[in-house]
């Protein structure tokens, strides 16, 4: 027994690591093999392909005027869509948690529609409803507002896709909030506005931000609905995921990879930010 232990100690680090992996329970082994095959291998393929580009070339492609324009459209539009949903998503969560009204359960369940509806269907119907002959678009057209096939249309698709993230993040936290604190504030003479701004909103704020960040992250990567409602005109409403797609269609693998890596890095940064926000919003929990 002691001799084998000593042998293990003498083994190089790599072999010990390998042995640990072999000794893992089979559930862990299957998990890691599947993850390696499905996730690590494709990630490695993309990163290695990107690393074959000389840094100067990588930088040139990543910051070409067209690429910069797509980042601008993608990120600014996603951010505005997510912020708008931060406002209305919180309102919807508030209404669903605090008030009773007819069809509440149906409305609550329907909030998840964008999760369940395939994105191409979302794009198709949004493009129709907001086109200048559609139900909503025809009302906006006389005002000179064109939605479908413009950047505004991209924003509408992003709003659609990211709304449930805010509602579903804020709703459970609002549910857990103790109404006694609000009642205490009222009984101490605070108005409803004061109660909202000084008692309810401050602890809720990190949660709203988490929802906005989740929605933003989803909107940045969105392709199906945005590609259909957008006219995909460079420098106007062409988003980064569509640019990747176009580069691939032109067999420009380097171009596609570089922009793909940029998007990937931003997604990872957003993921870290979301984890940080979640930790922040739970800071008062035990």
């Amino acid at each position: 027994m002691s001799s084998t232990e000593q042998k293990e100690r003498q083994l190089p680090w790599g072999k010990v690591f390998l042995q640990n992996i072999i000794q893992l329970p089979w559930t862990w082994r299957i998990t890691l093999i599947y993850l390696s095959f499905m996730l690590f291998l494709p990630l490695a393929a993309m990163l290695l392909k990107a690393s074959t580009e000389p840094p100067s070339e990588f930088w040139k492609i990543a910051t070409s005027p067209l690429a910069l324009a797509t980042y601008n459209v993608t990120f600014i539009t996603s951010l505005l869509a997510a912020l708008l949903n931060g406002l209305f998503g919180t309102l919807i969560a508030w209404v669903l948690v605090r008030y009773d009204f007819p069809l509440k359960r149906v409305i609550d369940a329907l909030v998840d529609l964008p999760f369940a509806l395939p994105t191409s269907v979302a794009g198709l119907t949004l493009a129709t409803v907001y086109s200048d002959r559609g139900w909503i678009g025809s009302l906006l057209a006389p005002l000179g507002i064109k939605v479908s096939f413009t950047r505004l249309g991209v924003a509408v698709a992003m709003i659609f896709i990211s709304l449930p993230f805010v509602v579903r993040t804020v709703q459970p936290v609002l549910q857990e909030m103790e109404q006694e604190i609000e009642e205490a504030a009222w009984s101490l003479g605070a108005s409803e506005w004061q109660t909202f701004w000084k008692v309810i909103l401050p602890p809720l704020f990190p949660t709203i931000l988490t929802g906005v960040a989740l929605g933003f992250s989803r909107a940045v990567g969105e392709y199906g609905s945005t590609v259909i409602i957008s006219s995909n005109t460079p420098f106007q409403d062409l988003i980064a995921p569509v640019l990747i797609f176009q580069r691939l269609e032109e067999y420009d693998y380097s171009g596609a990879t570089v922009i793909g890596v940029v998007l990937l890095i931003i997604s990872l940064v957003l993921l870290l930010a979301i984890n940080f926000l979640q930790a922040w919003s739970r800071r008062y929990d035990r």
């Binding site: 893992l24 329970p25 559930t27 299957i30 998990t31 599947y34 993850l35 499905m38 996730l39 291998l41 494709p42 393929a45 993309m46 392909k49 309102l91 919807i92 209404v95 669903l96 605090r98 008030y99 369940a109 998840d112 529609l113 964008p114 369940a116 509806l117 395939p118 994105t119 191409s120 269907v121 198709l124 119907t125 949004l126 129709t128 409803v129 909503i136 509408v156 709003i159 709304l163 009642e183 009222w186 940045v220 990567g221 969105e222 392709y223 199906g224 590609v227 259909i228 995921p241 990747i244 691939l248 693998y253 596609a256 990879t257 793909g260 998007l263 990937l264 997604s267 990872l268 993921l271």
Partner: protein, 282 residues
């Protein structure tokens, strides 16, 4: 505080809830309800006959078939993986499991187009395995295997995410009780664990299926979107729309919308099942 005081306080500003409810529903109507209603109205705008005529087109039927195949392959794979991963993470706590947990969530953060791109870079003609695959006459990209890989990638995290909380709540005591009574691992899994996590598991499977049948971006990149060959139903919708066959696009959209409705209903039922169970336990 008395109830009287409370109700007085609320009565003074009783218009506020109504206004807030109205604004919330108006926003939802603009963003979700009108577009959803539009799908049905457009599909039946020329009556029921053209709708059904669209549904028997060979391209459409092939797209439905392909979508079903994709779901039939990827949902079981991801279910087994999800169970394994959830079991490993909750039952065999090894160092670094928190990192594995966030890694499993990655497909939700990565843009579907980037997911598709990665598969092309790995299995495509110029990819790592490209030459080898070509020598052996195996086609992955622009064919069904690539679409399966893309679909499996984007729908990977659902089951893990839904099963981990129920497994954690269910606890290990019953497993151990079964073990001391002489049950082997398979018996424990089938007779003790699975029955108690079934609603959570089913919830994850429903979400996986919805994503697998509805995925557009990743599949679009790897499929080449060849009608009658690699065109799944969501791709059919886009293609028909681009070809100005709007009615045909909306007919297919109705079918996918139906999938969404079924998904939402099942979700609601399953969520209630898991909730009542939790309520019963505490």
């Amino acid at each position: 505080m008395t109830d009287k005081f409370k109700s007085n306080h609320r009565k003074q500003k009783s218009w506020i809830p109504s206004v807030l409810i109205f604004v919330a529903i108006a926003y939802l109507a603009l963003v979700q309800y009108l577009p959803a209603l539009n799908v049905v109205i457009q599909a039946f705008s020329k009556g029921v006959t053209p709708f059904f005529a669209n549904l028997v087109q060979p391209e459409f039927l092939h797209a439905v078939w392909l979508t079903l195949i994709l779901a039939l392959i990827t949902v079981p794979i991801n279910t087994v993986f999800g169970l394994c991963a959830a079991w490993a993470i909750t039952r065999h706590k090894i160092p670094g499991r928190a990192i594995v947990l966030s890694i499993i969530d990655l497909p939700f953060s990565i843009s579907p187009v980037v997911a598709g791109l990665m598969i092309v870079l790995l299995y495509g003609r110029q990819g790592w395995f490209g030459p080898w695959l070509q020598d052996h006459n195996i086609q992955i990209v622009f064919a069904l295997p690539g679409m399966v890989l893309a679909t499996a990638f984007v729908s990977m995290p659902f089951v893990v995410r839904e099963v981990i909380p129920v497994l954690e709540e269910f606890g290990q005591e019953q497993d151990e009780a079964a073990k001391t009574l002489g049950a082997n691992d398979w018996q424990i899994f089938w007779r003790v664990t699975l029955p108690s996590i079934r609603w959570g598991l089913l919830y994850g499977v429903v979400l996986t299926n919805a994503r697998a049948m509805g995925e557009f971006g990743a599949v679009s990149v790897v499929s080449g979107n060849i009608s009658n060959t690699t065109q799944s139903l969501p791709l059919f919708v886009e293609e028909a729309y681009k070809q100005y066959q709007t009615e045909s696009a909306f007919s297919a959209a109705v079918l996918l919308g139906l999938l969404a409705v079924v998904t939402l209903v099942l979700k609601e039922i399953l969520a209630r099942k898991t909730d009542t169970k939790e309520a019963g336990r505490h």
